[in-house]
């Protein structure tokens, strides 16, 4: 599949107003997004995620590097590039609260040069699709947050762009609306063949609907892989060992020294050692440590990790320079 978005060697630094200290928000970031793909853009607060999003949307100019949308350079052909991308950046804050649902859709279509007449059919389609038809003449300030969020996404859809960028699309939504938004996003890709980039802290959303994730930390990309691959990779290396007794202090210090990514929980008659291994063979070293004091092993299970745990591991690994590099 061809890449519709190309981010190449992008750098961005900010200067703090008072101290004049230069902060490198993005440091040499490169990645592609393929047509029809749902990409998750993740990172902890302050990682450089929003800066990257704003640069892709043409709201911020990179210091170095280039961003092209459907072959149009965002720096030199900004308006042409913007024809191919729309975004929901601040959810319900991106709406005119004094206008009705339909008036918002019509106004934003007009701002892209589309007449009310030409937009009418699409607007009706979107109102049905997003289950907002019964609220079309309701003022936005009277809608629930979930409905406002759906309207913001519908407006992005009404632009009929190849790419839709969504920043925290499920933030503040109840479980039911969150699921509704997820299913709408999936259908957007299937029915309308759009490319979607999602930035979210909700790892369930990422695991549920994204095919691939780019994880940014400290202004660098630490992971650019499919969600499936990441789940598989981390599942192999996460073990839960149930012991029929307790570890001695000596054993614990050896484990802590050799395997910093572990947790040890004591229960009434047994204890559980949860451990992340860089290589599968390292399990033998654990067995050797357990053998030292003849600690009985009752079970060794491979843990099923969810995407949230993987994200945390990657971010921690990046900081301690251990896990992410070894994987």
């Amino acid at each position: 599949m061809e890449a519709i978005i190309k981010v190449e060697g992008v750098k961005k630094a900010y200067k703090k107003r008072k101290s004049k200290e230069v902060i490198q928000a993005i440091n040499d970031v490169s990645f592609d997004v393929k047509r029809g793909e749902i990409l998750g853009l993740l990172g902890p607060n302050g990682a450089g995620k929003t800066t990257t999003i704003k640069m892709i949307c043409g709201l911020l100019t990179p210091d170095e590097g280039s961003i092209t949308i459907n072959g149009n350079d965002m720096k030199t052909q900004r308006l042409k590039a913007l024809k191919h991308i729309s975004a929901v950046l601040e959810g319900n804050r991106n709406l005119y609260w004094r206008l009705t649902v339909k008036e918002n859709l019509e106004y934003f279509a007009g701002n892209r040069g589309v007449s009310r007449k030409d937009a009418a059919f699409l607007i009706q389609d979107l109102l049905h699709k997003f289950n907002l038809k019964h609220k079309e003449n309701e003022l936005v300030n009277r809608l629930s947050r979930g409905m406002q969020q759906k309207l913001a996404i519908a407006i992005a859809m009404s632009a009929e762009t190849d790419v839709i960028l969504l920043d925290e699309p499920t933030l503040g939504l109840d479980v039911e609306t969150s699921y509704e938004v997820r299913s709408i996003l999936q259908s957007i890709v299937k029915e309308y063949n759009r490319t979607i980039i999602i930035s979210s802290h909700d790892m369930d959303v990422i695991q549920d609907i994204c095919e691939r994730t780019v994880i940014i930390n400290n202004g660098n990309i630490v992971i650019n892989d499919s969600v499936k691959n990441l789940l598989k990779l981390f599942e192999v290396r996460s073990y839960s060992i149930t012991l029929g007794g307790f570890l001695s202090n000596h054993q614990l210090s050896l484990i802590s020294h050799k395997f910093p990514h572990h947790t040890y929980k004591k229960e009434t008659f047994q204890s559980i050692l949860e451990i992340d291994l860089a290589k599968s063979e390292e399990i033998y070293q654990i067995i050797d440590i357990l053998k030292m004091d003849e600690t009985p092993v009752e079970a060794i299970d491979r843990r099923n990790v969810n995407f949230e745990q993987i994200f945390m591991k990657i971010i921690k690994g990046e900081k301690s320079n251990a896990f992410a590099q070894s994987s």
């Binding site: 709201l59 975004a87 991106n94 609260w97 019509e106 106004y107 007009g110 701002n111 007449s115």
Partner: protein, 257 residues
Amino acid sequence: MRLLNLLNANIRKHFIEMKRYLPNTMAFIITFYIIFLAMFAGIKLIGDPSSQDANIQYVIVNYIFWYLAMVVVNDIGWQISNEASQGTFEQLSMSPMGIWRIMTARLISSTIVNFLIIVALLYISMATTGQWLNIDVITLLPILVLTLISMFGLGLIIAGMTVVFKQIQAFLQILQFILAALVFVQSNVLPFLVFFPIVKGVELVRNVMIDGVSLSQIAVGDFLILGFNAIFYFIVGLGIFIYCERFAMRKGLLAHY
């Protein structure tokens, strides 16, 4: 066609908001009318009786123009400032039409939608004072169009400044008085003032509405000055706006309040 659709969308939005928040619109008009009544009372009570009629006519034209300048120049600053804090400005910035075209459409739509109010205020003022001015549409139209273009330029400068600084409410308050000064000043005080925005336009409108000057009686030189001002201030305004937009994009201020 796309530009017309853009203009149409902005006129419609402006009209809907004005209609939906009618009490707010009415309060604004009433405030302006009270200001006019205060000026009128001032002339009646403490003005020179021999030049009272001329002064009242002068005030009517000036104050109507002041309203127009406020609607065109000042309002765009408030709009951007409000939209930046609401979060809608970044959506406008992402339009493939270009933000400067949207801002120009906003300036034109404000003028069109407020035109009815301006005409109503003019007739109410004339009825209140009993001073009926010469409304020669054919003569007034070209003067108004050229003056408005220079006002749009000024509006774009204010819009550009608001894009960068955002919290310029205090400046916008002061700007009301700067606009009043530009409207009320007479160019015979300092001849170079004709090259300031608005000044020449108001002067010619006064000549038409108070002295009954017709289109053929206006010197070509006056129209040249008006035309020069229109082109100069619009190009400068546009240049400053585009520079401010790019500066905001470099510094990350475009979608930041």
